[in-house]
């Protein structure tokens, strides 16, 4: 039943389902929720994210989006290696024919890494043999970009079938959803625009950032278009954490 699907307008348990990556038919993912109705915790997988207004936000360090095998993990030798692995995985979640999305992701991820060099004194300079963490480890606190995001619209939009609004990239920050639309010369498609308009008008926590296509050619990330929290992603955290942490560590860190 579509009424059982995640609904960001729900009064008692508002949740936003973000299907992302190369997913031809997002309905199949939404339908999975209809088959197991009831309370659903926030969730992050390699194909979708389920977030609520009280979610902590999704970062590169959030478990669930990346699957790194034990063998791969044993081969990484540095923070940089793991970050490169993350970058490769994120970019490969977008279609090879989405050149602009891929360009955005490359610029954004490089920006996240560069931010740490700019602010390394604030983050505690390293490396030191006596310290567990290096300031570079904060890079995994960067907000996780969800490319080719398709956001499930509530039944109020269409009660007959699941409908999705398309964003080029989505970020789930604490209590805020940021959608990125890369604006080129394309003529809007009526049906897609209608869904996007509905999303923008009705989602209580969404901000859409329009990125002019030509700004992607800039050498640096278009920081000025985004809220400060995108740039200072480590604020509010006490310790950095890598992606794909062991389950036992997650349990100990859980509040």
């Amino acid at each position: 039943m579509i009424q059982e699907y995640p609904d960001f307008l729900s009064q008692d348990r508002p949740q936003t389902l973000i299907v992302y990556g190369i997913v031809t038919n997002p309905e199949t993912i939404a339908n999975g929720f209809g088959q197991r109705p009831g309370e659903r915790p926030a969730e992050l997988t390699n194909r979708y994210a389920l977030v609520s207004p009280v979610s902590l936000g999704l970062r590169l360090s959030s478990p669930g989006w990346i699957d790194i095998s034990f063998q791969q993990m044993s081969q990484v030798k540095s923070t940089g290696d793991i970050f490169d692995l993350c970058r490769e995985r994120i970019i490969n979640r977008s279609s090879p024919f989405s050149k602009l999305i891929r360009l955005f992701l490359e610029r954004y991820l490089e920006f996240a890494r560069a931010q740490l060099e700019v602010h390394k004194h604030e983050l505690g300079a390293g490396p030191s043999d006596n310290e567990i963490f290096d300031y570079r480890d904060w890079v995994f606190s960067a907000w996780l970009p969800l490319p080719q995001a398709q956001i499930l619209l509530p039944p109020a939009f269409d009660a007959r079938q699941p409908s999705f609004a398309e964003l080029d990239i989505a970020f789930s920050l604490s209590a805020q959803l940021i959608g990125v639309k890369i604006d080129g010369a394309s003529t809007p498609i009526k049906s897609r625009q209608k869904k996007l308009n509905y999303l923008i008008e009705h989602h209580p926590h969404l901000t859409v950032v329009h990125v002019p296509k030509n700004r992607l050619r800039d050498e640096t990330f278009i920081q000025d278009l985004f809220p400060e929290s995108i740039a200072r992603f480590w604020q509010g955290l006490s310790l950095p954490q890598g992606p794909c942490p062991p389950e036992i560590l997650l349990n100990r860190l859980a509040p």
Partner: protein, 410 residues
């Protein structure tokens, strides 16, 4: 076939162009200073030169201008409008006839086009211009013979030429390129013919000549050529006086030739390439529209084709069945999409595809009207298509139906 077949498209109006409803391969939209919207239409053949239709109200269109060709042994199959300048291609049916070339008109008063320049390409081995591209107000890119070009094979006469038209009264050729081996005196050997046909027939297939050249102002250093049996070419035209081939892709043979349009989707690293159907009753089936992975422009890789309806349903409905012109994302008052592809497929009508997943293009809309009255064949023959910035689709029947205007509901 008597009923219209359609999905997500509906007819707003039809205009048979005063009984001269044979539409060629040129449609371009002008928005005048007063906000009138004039669709300029090329004709498949004589006696008409071009027609201007006021489509400001797409449900109530009015022919505001229809001009005559100088004689019956020629056609003006192609045209383009940029601003208030209309460029028209003149092709003759016999070598050496005149006028052959391009003519520019000032159409600021659409009811009274005023000739402002003519560039002749007539010559002993030339039929003049078959197709032209003019979207920046500065250069015409065209398929034409030339007075000083002698092809080894008479059907290989129309080569790529770049004409500087910034001074309409003194247009000048500034660059040219042809398939290596097709000119008398070339070092390269002549290309192997795909499906040899008698040499005394000038029209038709078995040709290594240019059809369409697409050059986009935001990528002015690249030309995308459909070189008929020669396949698709990407040229580097950073130096317009010396075009150089960057890459080449051709499915011929085993596929039966006639590459027509090569349309780049720049932001996706894709090309959409059509092979024109040129024979009735599916005698040259399949004539496909190819989707090419061009992320590495030096290594073009076909990854899919746009799905066509079954040949057993359409092949013998009458006339041609298969690919032809596309809406080409040209600048101006024009629909632009790198995902939605709109094409004219002769008796399979106008078809609209979603290329979101380029490995599996999906048909999302179509419009196949019945055969128009007075047509030579018993089926529609959608020959040309143009989509405006509001998603209104303008299409032309090759023989009699004239202009069809459809609303796209996708």
């Amino acid at each position: 076939m008597s009923d219209t077949l359609s999905k997500n498209m509906s007819l707003l109006s039809q205009n048979t162009l005063g009984g001269f409803g044979g539409v060629g391969e040129g449609m371009a939209l002008q928005v005048t200073g007063k906000g009138r919207r004039i669709l300029w239409i090329a004709h498949e053949g004589p006696p008409k030169n071009f027609t201007g239709v006021d489509v400001t109200d797409p449900k109530n269109t009015v022919v505001v201008c229809q001009t005559e060709l100088p004689h019956q042994k020629m056609r003006s199959n192609s045209l383009e409008v940029t601003g208030d300048i209309l460029a028209v291609a003149y092709q003759v049916y016999e070598l050496g006839l005149e006028p052959a070339g391009i003519e520019l008109f000032d159409v600021s008063d659409p009811a009274n086009p005023k000739s402002i320049g003519f560039h002749s390409t007539a010559g002993p081995h030339s039929r003049g211009v078959h197709c032209l591209w003019f979207v920046d107000g500065q250069y015409v890119h065209m398929a034409s013979g030339a007075p000083d070009f002698t092809p080894r094979h008479p059907r290989d006469d129309q080569i790529y030429q770049i004409i500087d038209v910034r001074n309409p009264g003194k247009m000048e050729e500034i660059g040219r390129w042809w398939y290596p081996g097709t000119r008398e005196g070339d070092d390269a050997p002549p290309p192997e013919r795909i499906i040899p046909e008698p040499m005394d027939q000038l029209r038709g297939g078995d040709a290594f000549r240019l059809h369409n050249a697409n050059v986009y102002p935001d990528h002015p250093d690249r030309a995308y050529l459909g070189y008929i049996d020669g396949g698709a070419f990407i040229l580097d035209i950073a130096d317009k006086s010396r075009p150089e081939a960057v890459s080449h892709w051709s499915p011929h043979n085993p596929y039966p030739g006639f590459t027509h349009t090569v349309m780049p989707l720049f932001d996706r690293g894709l090309l959409v390439v059509t092979d024109e159907c040129i024979k009735d009753d599916a005698e040259d089936w399949p004539k496909l529209t190819w989707v090419i992975d061009a992320r590495n422009e030096k290594n073009l890789v076909p990854i899919s084709t746009l799905p066509l309806p079954p040949v057993e349903e359409y092949g013998h409905r009458g006339g041609r069945f298969g690919s032809h012109n596309l809406h080409e994302n040209r600048p101006g008052p024009s629909f632009h999409s790198e995902e939605i592809i709109v094409g004219a497929f002769f008796n399979a009508g106008i078809r609209v595809y979603d290329l979101n997943n380029p490995y599996q293009p999906e048909l999302i809309a179509y419009f196949v009207p019945p055969a128009p009255a007075n047509s030579r064949v018993n089926a529609i023959q959608m020959n040309e298509v143009y989509v405006d910035e509001n998603g209104i689709v303008y299409a032309g029947d090759r023989w009699a139906g004239g202009l069809y205007i459809m609303e796209l509901d996708i």
